[in-house]
């Protein structure tokens, strides 16, 4: 008897280690990469399950750990059926796992091809589910309080004049020109991922063609223009630039609390910063000739990919779920209010003021700054070295230190490209 008991105990232990497998009906497992969207996605998932009975599981990777989480989850017996492939590097890494979306019912709902990502064989790996724009967010009320008008700012010189005037009178006005510019992980991407885009875009424009794949080298011709705007941002806030390396400031909070007029960020901030304020977004004016005709930086990293290695039932369930997300009036309304806009024929209209401004700029004949930044090779390593150089420069703004920054941008690009393609 004891023998059987012991054996049963051992078997129990062993079975406890075997994961429970789900039933054969399809289900959706969405590995989401934006913690700020988690709440909305959980709500959508619940709505869909209540309506159709199909289980939808939304898991959100902790901030900055999407790559790690995706790598681990993909190895499991129930891998994500829906995941994010937002740039060319992602395509390179995950192409094997991406279902070809060409001609699928979700791809047919798109109203633009602009945000789709293809691999080198022309396979449609991922499709944009929203797009965004970034630039410099302006608190128009404060700007006017300081005696300036938004339409005064048309290029770098006029921006600089306004910014420096506000900064000089900060004590008297009770607010400063720019918010803080932290270099920790929660904020450095506003500069190493976004603001630097101006160099890449103007390089594209100088060469007369838009990048379609990662170039092996960049010239850094417009790095001095990046410096113009960057210097303006770090030297005209209430904080000592040397403190940015350690982080700990809260730029969004400063902007919301009316502590600063200018805030380098993007359209996803609209909901957070527009409450009770008159806000606008202006392009990255940086001293490039003809920049009076510049528009906002528009693009996306939010692209859906369906796991080609998932079970067919799960793939079908995921496809149906996505179709519902972009066609159902109620669901797309909720998603659009969170994402800003969804480029699908039947999706709800956007209510995002910053995206409306991006369209206004475009309609007024301004050129759109595309997200060339999505081509940054070995992106995390590239940005880490870039941040390191900016830290040294923030602490001591010498030419030698700026040369390190330039090197991180230009030589860093060539080095990381060789790492990826060598």
């Amino acid at each position: 008897m004891k023998k059987f008991f012991a054996l049963a105990l051992v078997l129990c232990l062993m079975f406890a280690l075997v994961p429970v497998t789900t039933a054969e009906t399809g289900s959706v497992y969405w590995l989401n990469f934006k913690p700020e969207s988690d709440e909305v996605l959980q709500q959508i998932a619940k709505m869909y399950t209540e309506k159709t009975g199909v289980p939808v599981n939304v898991v959100t990777a902790a901030s900055g750990t999407y790559s790690q989480t995706l790598t681990a989850e993909m190895d499991k017996s129930t891998p994500p059926t829906l995941f994010i492939v937002g740039n060319q590097e992602g395509v390179k890494t995950w192409s094997e796992y991406c279902l070809d979306l060409t001609g699928t019912k979700i791809a047919n709902e798109l109203n633009t091809d602009a945000y789709n990502l293809y691999d080198e064989n022309g396979k449609l790996c991922s499709i944009g589910y929203c797009y965004e724009c970034y630039g410099i967010i302006v608190n128009v009320d404060l700007l006017e309080k300081a005696g300036h008008k938004l339409d005064e700012i048309t290029n770098f010189d006029t921006l600089k004049a306004v910014v420096e005037d506000i900064h000089a009178r900060a004590a008297e006005l009770g607010f400063d020109a720019f918010t803080s510019s932290d270099m920790d992980g929660s904020s450095s991407w506003r500069f190493t991922g976004h603001m630097i885009n101006l160099d890449y875009v103007y390089e594209e424009r100088a060469a007369g063609k838009v990048w379609t794949e990662c170039p092996a080298t960049i010239t850094g011709e417009f790095v001095p223009n990046f410096k113009n705007l960057y210097d303006l941002a770090i030297n005209n806030s209430e904080f000592d630039p040397a403190t940015f390396a350690a982080g700990g400031h809260d730029a969004e909070g400063e902007f919301k609390a009316d502590k600063a007029v200018f805030f380098v960020n993007g359209s996803w901030e609209y909901g957070a910063v527009s409450e009770g304020k008159n806000v606008a977004m202006i392009p990255y004016y940086c001293g490039v000739e003809g920049e009076e005709k510049a528009g906002l930086n528009c693009g996306t990293e939010n692209c859906w990919a369906i796991n080609a290695n998932a079970k067919q039932a799960d793939i079908d369930a995921t496809m149906d779920f996505l179709y519902w997300c972009v066609t159902d009036a109620e669901a797309s309304r909720i998603l659009v209010d969170s994402f800003g806009v969804m480029p699908y024929k039947q999706a709800a209209e956007s209510t995002n003021g910053f995206l409306a401004m991006a369209n206004d700029y475009a309609n007024n004949g301004c050129y759109v700054m595309d997200w060339a930044t999505n081509y940054q090779p070995n992106v995390d390593a590239y940005r880490a070295a870039f941040v390191s150089a900016l830290n040294a420069y923030n602490a001591d703004q010498t030419d030698a230190n700026w040369e390190q920054v330039r090197s991180a941008i230009v030589d860093g690009w060539a080095y990381q490209y060789s790492q990826v393609n060598g």
């Binding site: 796992y97 350690a246 602490a395 860093g412």
Partner: protein, 306 residues
Amino acid sequence: MNRKRKHYDLRKDPIRRKWWIFILPLMAAFIIGFVWPFIQGIYLSFCTFTTTSNAKLNGFMNDKAFFSNYVKAFNDPTFVRSFWYSALFAVVSLIIINVLAFTVAYLLTRELKGSNLFRTVFFMPNLIGGIVLGYIWSMIFDGILYMYGKTLVTEPVWGFWALVVVVAWQQIGYMMIIYIAGLQAVPSDMLEAAKIDGASSWQTLWRVTIPNVMPSITICTFLSLTNGFKLFDQNLALTNGLPKPFVNGVPVGQTEMIALNIYNTFYVGNTSARGTAQAKAVLFFILVAALGLIQLSATRKKEVQQ
């Protein structure tokens, strides 16, 4: 008198006969949690992969050279550098931790008032996880360095000493407990004999106490040496390898230790480098194991048998 005693047959004892049932759960856990991942890790170090399920063995399932991951690992200047950096850190922290832990333990075994309270207090930092500790200490350090216009992530020297301080603060208490146990096991008759023979307290310490606590010293130096090499959480949280200037065209993390280097190669680098990261991890294991064994045999020789 030859009373026949009933012989108890050990081979019939159910527990002894079915010993394998009793170690089965543990063995299963050990194999699932350690042996199998270890073997798979070695296999993956010869592969190109994005996830472990799509690994392709180099030289057989693709056109890469069989040892290409290892060649790349050895040719990576950041890897070699991070190894020496870890070695330096391990030696410095080993000395500081053990000297201080021994001193504290020595003081707390003198009949001091409230020594139990002190023991608890010294041990407590060990109960906090490395990442949390790293972030809290980075705030403390940055708060202090701020007054001098410096930060941890811009000054590699401060980054290094910050790591040493945090690790020492965390581990001294743990090593102290081991030393206290060792010190309490020193035979009192030996100490008494030394006293009667007129040995000074310094002589007693060096000639009697320390030789008797050699087993504790062995285990503590082994732990602090391997911990020093394996350090990851605190490194990630405190400096994340920054600053990262370009040296000969290659960005080199000035405070990047070997475990963080492997992590960065795996996740931050492009995915074609995941095999290389795995190769580095295997090399890392061999190095730490070899160093640990050398150190163990070196200090074992100094132990006295009681």
